[in-house]
Amino acid sequence: MFFPILWMVLTAFKTELHAFSNPPELLITPTLASFEEALGRGNLVQYIANTSIAALGSTLLGVLLSIPAAYFLAFYPTRRAEFALIWMISTKMMPPVGVLVPIYLVYRDLHLLDTVLGLLLIYVALNLPLIVWMLYTFFKEIPGEILEAARMDGAGVVREIMDVLLPIARPGIASAALLAIIFSWNESFWSLNLTSAKALTLPVFIASFKTAEGMFWAKMSAGATLAIFPVLILGWIAQRQLARGLSFGAIK
């Protein structure tokens, strides 16, 4: 499963000439030339900054909006709440290409085109259903008695959430947030179409390596390696956190 990634990273350390050789070369003298050239292609620091702000900001906002919603849906379930949950998920089924032009026109009029804020808001909407749902399944596993006890002590709803629910639910929240970060970091369609210069993100930078006039596999690999590196490491470090929140109610 990992081999293609490994192969790409290897290619990134080759020269263009070696990247094409047949039979493929495994033993190579690594060179950083491709990385230098890839870096010369654009302001990478700016792209990383844009991508991070959009991914982290949207995740933060999404989690803040989701916690009360998931709390309510999980602990005060009604038919309408269940419908609300399904409806939220169904908003994810709209194909982005279908609504690009409407969104584009709205963004133009709100002066949100080519702004990181604009991307951030889109990502909130894209990730919100998933976060609410993951938190919902996680909250459902928490016995109501714990919250009940807190309430007997006279805590208000806010205190109840802050002091009792959140500490217990931290793995679930972390997991949902991680997933949201990963999806926003890798998102390419909206970032390609709603940004032009100032708010360009990493996936758009990678797209600029697609079919140049002249094939640049080593450069492309170098750029791609740089772009996937942060999230790959994040994923590796946090895989247990991620897994715990993905239980969807299987853990009793």
Partner: protein, 304 residues
């Protein structure tokens, strides 16, 4: 879904019941704006002749866009391709995910490293995934698979042209199998050990253990997977765009790609909007079927 689960909730706290508007309201409002504004605009554009590039002949055309869409064989091919793609990738990811999860649920040396590597594809950007597979693995002259085929004395295959749909399915499955693996592995690890022991004492073999304990236990996570992944796969676009561009012919033209052709190649916003409305309808039809079939597992799993 006649009865709503209230077993676990704080139903008896109903007097303290917090204001739904305050709690669920903000999230619903965000999604409502996100959904209703583009949807309303799409509905409006779908009954107009509206090409971004043409300033003349714009205006109300009634259901013309819908009629031409329904008469277009390409459109129906795209609908079928979309469903085929979703079903194949679902089967591949859940099947492979289950095998990997069972594997990683055992003990062997370097298990953690192996698992970490196995789930890595999920963290890679779809754009990178597509470019990587297209150029470095599938390429019929310089690709790794061509080299393998030649070393074994065979002819290199132009994968993306000869087996376009299967190639795309392979790419997307590679990307999403780790997600299934993670979810199923988490579920497996929560299997109570004494339950398994009890079955073993009863003399059930490995197959019986799998059939009567593991599978029922995995029903809920698999349902969740089915639903979540269907949602993601219905709108898959980047992987197709960057590899086959919907071809050759119409072999991998899915509904999102079809709408893309209308919207960003022809800049025909009228037709694209009509297509988008159809895509939303299709998604909802699929969702209703899916929810009918599995929602009991997801929402009321704790009830007998």
């Amino acid at each position: 879904m006649t009865r709503v689960s209230a077993g676990r909730g704080l139903a008896r706290f109903d007097i303290h019941r917090p204001n739904a508007l305050l709690f669920v309201g903000p999230a619903v409002l965000v999604l409502f704006v996100w959904m209703i504004v583009p949807l309303a605009l799409s509905l409006y554009y779908s009954v107009r002749r509206y090409n971004l590039l043409v300033l003349e002949r714009r205006g109300f055309v009634g259901l013309l866009n819908y009629r031409l869409l329904l008469l277009d064989p390409t459109f129906w091919t795209a609908v079928v391709n979309t469903l085929v793609l979703v079903v194949l990738v679902l089967a591949a990811t859940i099947g492979l995910g289950l095998i990997l999860a069972l594997l990683f649920n055992r003990d062997f040396t370097a298990k953690n490293v192996a698992r970490t590597l196995a789930i890595s594809p999920f963290f890679v950007m779809p754009v990178v995934t597509a470019l990587m597979w297209k150029n470095m693995l599938f390429h019929p002259v310089f690709g790794l698979l061509a080299w393998v085929a030649q070393s074994l004395g065979g002819e290199p295959i132009d994968w993306l042209a000869t087996y376009p749909m299967l190639s795309v399915v392979a790419i997307i499955s590679w990307e999403w199998t780790p997600f299934a693996t993670l979810i199923l592995l988490t579920a497996l690890q929560s299997l109570p050990g004494d339950l398994l022991e009890a079955v073993r004492i009863d003399g059930a073999g490995r197959w019986g253990e799998f059939r009567y304990i593991v599978i029922p236990h995995l029903l809920r996570p698999i349902s969740a997977l089915l639903m979540l992944q269907t949602i993601f796969f219905l709108t898959i676009f980047a992987e197709i765009y960057a590899t086959t561009s919907g071809g050759p012919g119409l072999a991998t033209t899915t509904l999102p790609y079809f709408i893309y052709l209308k919207a960003l190649l022809q800049f025909d916003i009228g037709s694209a909007s009509a297509g988008a409305i159809f895509a939303v309808i299709l998604a909802n039809v699929v969702a209703v079927f899916l929810l009918r079939a599995i929602s009991r597992n997801i929402f009321q799993g704790e009830l007998p």
